[in-house]
Symmetry: C2
Subunit: 349 residues, 2 copies
């Protein structure tokens, strides 16, 4: 199992994602440690879950407790009674399974967006189209919309998604909406008014609650699709810790409201830093900002040399995505790496 | 999401498994709490992992740390250099994926055994055969052997499995060996001498280390199958906690050796209790015993009424499986429920 004997490893599983600090350390061995990871869309504030009961480790996850977790998600996401909530070890695990459960010839994706949908469907031989407008997805077997979109934050209006789903369902199609970044955008989710067929929605627990290491996500789906997902994930789909933490956090409205305010002010501070460094705003969500700059490749490297990991995009060489950074040392470090500290000192002194 | 609206839930995901205390509590509401769960093959001694680093929750699992986990598994299981180790959120998750990754028409299973292999392959329309001897599996596309077997502990000799794999590989077939219960049986594993093609092996972390809530298991497979599994599980296959705990525990030979001795003496004590209660031994492993009794259904209920959950088998109404019970309160409770306490008091006094 030495690295030389399995070069396919990195290609197969970690290419083109944020959050891979091991790869960053190898590429920039001189960078100061610890790294400041701004390469993901993960909430920098983690849900404070306290002590976990020992049984969440030492027992097989229990069907009643799993049902309670899914019921909490149903409350948190406003799931209508006709839809099923299915827990999975991360919404990525659902993305991996969908092409096997929902065979489709023509798959349309609203792009530019998160690459894993295309990768996953391409592996089953589907014909992929990347469309610029939702209406262009109507003739497909499966239409996929990340909403709000990653990385540009584009938000498709609910009525446009319902109209798309109605057109799809008329010929047996399905709309998949990935709402991984909808939690901090009240009113953006299409879940509460979703129809009984033609739409399924993905939600990410880890990004919103700052606990991506937990591996927890949900599908909200018509009953028949929910049944197929349950069979795919089997009797113990998520860990005992995911059940214990998720069941509490999903019902904690107060925490979400508090963090939403914090992210708003942190986002405004990040916007100022990025503007001062000459980046042009493209868009974003409460958890990240997407900016443009002619010298992105140089700036990416300069940041990496300072131990700050950001997210660039192979297909968009002048784009860079920054995760939200909490006030304090992180913001100072980012300002310094972008050459802004001198200005601040001068202004302050 | 009320229960009445989704009756398919229990059918789809928790039917016929051990460890479901929620279902037991519903069926036996008068039973004393907490239940003593002897219905699984999980080690009653959990690996003492201490404090976890906060980053295992707040960061996406890192590719370098995942590689270190798989390298630890390679050492622990004696994996030859030509094979790939692939981590998954429980060996059950691998069982769910295999029929999608390895399409097969004729699937043969050495039985009677763990039901999830048959369920999973049947869902893809494969023709299933349950065979009584390994040689009868030679003509299949996929042959599956749980070794040692669950529930009867039957151990097929390594040379018989190598011969079976050679016969399978000659016509493009594959042997899948589930070694979920091999960890406490030194020398039983076929991994160290496995050939470069024709065999894949599953290992369970949670059962051996008493941490089934963690959801961690491994496939050990020829390179090409390993690559398909990595693509199926995607960039973040297991939780940060699974990586942190697994990486340490798998290299802790001393703990395994200590627990093996403890399980041996606990198993001998359980054997005495079961014999005294009139059960006839069929077999087992270091983590459970399978016994026969004409009155199993009555005894199952009597135990459940005393808050002790055991494992029965729909197809074998006179079989009952007991997990190993640690000395002390658990053993006393089991003796009492089986009507043996009076004897003990009499003998002792």
């Amino acid at each position: 199992m030495d690295e030389a004997s399995c070069p396919e490893w990195s290609l197969a599983s970690q290419a083109e994602h944020g959050g891979d600090l091991s790869a960053a350390r190898l590429a920039y061995p001189q960078a100061p440690s610890p790294w400041l990871d701004l390469s993901t869309g993960v909430n920098p504030y983690s849900y404070p879950f306290g002590e976990l009961p020992p049984a969440c480790w030492t027992k097989l996850p229990d069907s009643g407790e799993l049902q309670a977790l899914e019921a909490a998600a149903a409350v948190a996401y406003g799931v209508p009674a006709h839809a099923q909530v299915v827990a999975a070890p991360g919404s990525q695990a659902i993305i991996n399974w969908l092409p096997r459960l929902l065979p489709a010839r023509r798959v349309g994706i609203l792009g530019f967006t998160y690459s894993e949908f295309a990768r996953s469907w391409a592996a089953t031989g589907a014909k992929l189209t990347i469309a610029a407008e939702p209406a262009a997805l109507r003739d497909h077997d499966i239409a996929i919309v990340v909403n709000p979109n990653n990385p540009d934050g584009r938000l498709v209006a609910a009525q446009d998604l319902y109209a798309l789903a109605a057109a799809l369902v008329a010929h047996g199609g399905l709309l998949i909406v990935d709402e991984a970044f909808a939690d901090f955008l009240p009113g953006a989710s299409i879940v509460p008014e979703m129809p009984a067929s033609g739409i399924m929605v993905l939600r990410s627990f880890g990004k919103t609650y700052g606990l991506p290491g937990l591996r927890l996500g949900f599908a909200i789906a018509p009953a028949e699709i929910g049944l197929r997902l349950r069979a795919a994930f089997g009797p113990w789909p998520v860990s005992g810790a995911a059940i214990a933490i998720g069941s509490r956090a999903l019902l904690d409205d107060q925490w979400i409201a508090m963090i939403r305010n914090r992210l708003r002010s942190n986002g405004a501070a990040l916007d100022k830093i990025l503007a001062a460094a000459g980046f042009v705003m493209i868009g974003g969500t409460k958890l990240f900002r997407l900016v443009r700059h002619d010298a992105v490749q140089l700036l990416y490297q300069r940041l990496a040399q300072a131990g700050i990991l950001t997210r660039r995009f192979e297909a968009k060489p002048d784009w860079l995505r920054f995760g939200i950074v909490a006030p304090g040392a992180g913001q100072t470090r980012l300002r310094a790496a972008l050459g802004l500290i001198g200005d601040q000192n001068h202004n302050g002194g």
